[in-house]
Assembly symmetry: C2
Homo-oligomer: 408 residues x 2
């Protein structure tokens, strides 16, 4: 049964809001063996009706987001009712739930919220635990000579839509399409090797197994996605490990920072950072991982040279002599951070993020990354990432984390 997503909302097409619905819905549906075949965004108003009518006879299920609010530009309910030739009725149960919600928060209900208690006559209510607008489900039916798909009308705000999908929409879809998925998806994350090189190493061999293969490249990383029968995927995994072994970061979509937290937790070891050009991004990424406090002791964002000296004890003469962006300073930062935080390992970064500050000898994008280890050895790598400020931070943090991972 073909599944489509229809996102409504002028704000999406003006760029005021990032549309995260497709990603959430795709990830929620895949474990049921379901895929989204097409996603469309239209502005509020007449375009909703046009786009929805196009799905008749083509799609089996359409998930519609947005346009269920209390204001006059929220017309999804009306558009659907009209297209299906169904009356809009006032639902007393919904009205009571909305009134309770306002009362609980000591807020006065606006007369506009009455609109949210309307539903196409044969729609089934999907309860909204995080907002006033209920979702609606209308089963497949003939409309004139065509077949209208199963329609799910869902609220626009992600924190209202997401629990509604998980708790109420997925169970309905499972009943509609009860076949268990024969296919599984695997994702292997690879660092430090380009997309075309990855395909050259594994592409033909994997495709000859008869699976579905895809690549997704981000700065410094490539995800290799395989979809197929589990026994074929196991064979594919063996090929990927044989060809890409040391470059493999994870087999389960864990980001690199989570891999590090898991590895260090298992070893009972600890970590610290001294960051200059990454400006706290290493620490931010590591502390995004729940449970990071078991291994991460602290970070020193030594942006000013004086703080490099006062916080992690870098000799001011060293900075004077070699410059802040240099091999000896990176080394001293890592060793100083390890010492100051009493950690087993410390990573340091010092570089020129740009857009300004480059010189002929050290152009924008130059960076030194050091790893100080508890055996007393420190290694320093020099890289150059001439790019924008954000990508620079991405690449430097990824490279630093990879250096640590390979030395654990």
């Amino acid at each position: 049964m073909r599944i489509e997503v229809l996102n409504t909302g002028t704000e999406l097409l003006l760029g005021g809001v990032l549309n995260t619905h497709l990603q959430f819905l795709a990830q929620a549906l895949f474990p049921l063996g379901l895929r989204i075949e097409r996603q469309v965004t239209v502005p509020d108003g007449e375009a909703i009706r046009t786009a929805l009518a196009e799905t008749f006879g083509r799609a089996g299920v359409v998930l519609i987001t947005g346009g269920l609010g209390p204001t006059t530009d929220d017309i999804t309910r009306e558009a659907v009712a009209e297209l299906l030739g169904m009356e809009l009725v006032h639902d007393e149960t919904v009205m009571a739930a909305i009134e309770r919600r306002f009362a609980r928060r000591n807020l006065t209900m606006s007369p506009r919220n009455r609109r949210q208690a309307q539903r196409p006559a044969e729609a089934i209510i999907l309860h909204n635990s995080n907002g006033t607008a209920p979702g609606l489900y209308i089963a497949e039916r003939a409309v004139g000579a065509q077949v209208a798909p199963h329609l799910f009308l869902l609220p626009g705000p992600p924190r209202e839509l997401q629990p509604m999908v998980t708790e109420q929409v997925l169970p309905i879809l499972e009943k509609l399409m009860p076949v268990r998925p024969a296919f599984e998806m695997r994702m292997v994350r690879v660092a430090g090797v380009g997309e075309s090189a990855v395909e050259e190493l594994i592409g033909e061999q994997l495709l000859s197994l008869g699976l579905e293969l895809g690549y997704c490249a981000r700065p410094g990383e490539v995800d290799v996605r395989t979809i197929g029968h589990p026994h074929v995927l196991a064979e594919a995994e063996r090929i990927i490990v044989a060809k890409l072994g040391p470059h493999i970061v994870s087999h389960d979509q864990r980001p690199l920072e989570k891999v590090l937290v898991d590895l260090l937790t298992g070893r009972g070891e600890t970590l610290a950072f001294a960051e200059s050009c990454t400006g706290g991004f290493l620490a931010h990424r590591i502390t995004n991982v729940p449970g990071a406090s078991a291994i991460f002791l602290g970070g020193y964002v030594t942006y000013a040279n004086a703080v490099k000296t006062s916080a992690v004890g870098v000799d001011a003469n060293l900075i004077e002599q070699h410059g802040a962006v240099s091999e000896p300073v990176a080394r001293a930062m890592a060793e100083g951070a390890r010492h100051a935080a009493k950690a087993d390992y410390a990573l340091s970064t010092t570089g020129i993020a740009g857009p300004d500050g480059g010189t002929e000898e050290k152009p924008v994008g130059t960076v030194f990354i050091a790893l100080a280890r508890k055996n007393g050895e420190t290694l320093v790598e020099k890289h150059r990432f001439p790019t924008d400020r954000k990508t620079f931070k991405d690449l430097v943090s990824l490279t630093a984390f990879e250096i640590l991972r390979r030395h654990l």
Copy 2:
């Protein structure tokens, strides 16, 4: 002229990647008076051709993203050429540029990259300064009985697409649609007041001016979007300032961290952080602003209690007595960071991000934020943000920055 966006990529419909193209393109086009009327996502393969054929006769311009890579699932070039009945030719200039790119990085070119030098015969090359795949522009033309829209084929990675759009696509669109926009868009960013409260304060009065009004709420912030004739927008601005004055962060979409860097630069003052629960996110946000080094001296990510003591001198007894998440510790962290970095101001955060670590007295989401100032005064605020880890960091950093902004 109707503009549509066609995003291609199986990974988008599997949820592996978040689609940020629509937001970027919408924001890039609006200043030219252009709006996107529809956005469609389809998987790699045959669906690209179907979706593109549907735009013939309907759209004037279609911006197509993705499918220009070197791998076998990248078929946008082929699909477009076939649909237009145009030959694919090998472009020597593009080939040379790709070869130079590999040589510059000391990488070996894969034979697969040769595919990226192919273009439909009448396509114009859009140079890619951040990747191997050039973009392509094919002007509007008759295809059989229909009119094919102006087509722009753009690479999927945002860092390749974005400069290409800004530098090469927009100038072409300006020539195609040279009418200057009569309408402008303004965005006022507001912090510390909810979306419905914002609407209640200004909604009716603004709508009575006859402009287009929209709200976009993020955790802790609301953007108020107005579209209309410049003189109406000026009147709207006066109303917004009168009603929301102290809550206004910026009138020009500058994020709060940029507002702080600008304010402190103007005053010649400096800043430091001591972060526990935000784990480096304050420092990361500030150092995302080019020129932050003029005002930001350093940050201390004092995750472990011992590092709170060693890095910013928090008395271990204070932590013992009140707990790390407490008013006195927040105060000592801010004052200690200000002292250690020799900064004019220091912000500190200490709280319980969750998902674990909460107690009855200090449940998950509890946070203390302190601001130490050069006049010797320190203020501490207690907040509670019971939410996910990522939103918690967003809200705490926003609140901390707002506390500083209001005291400058």
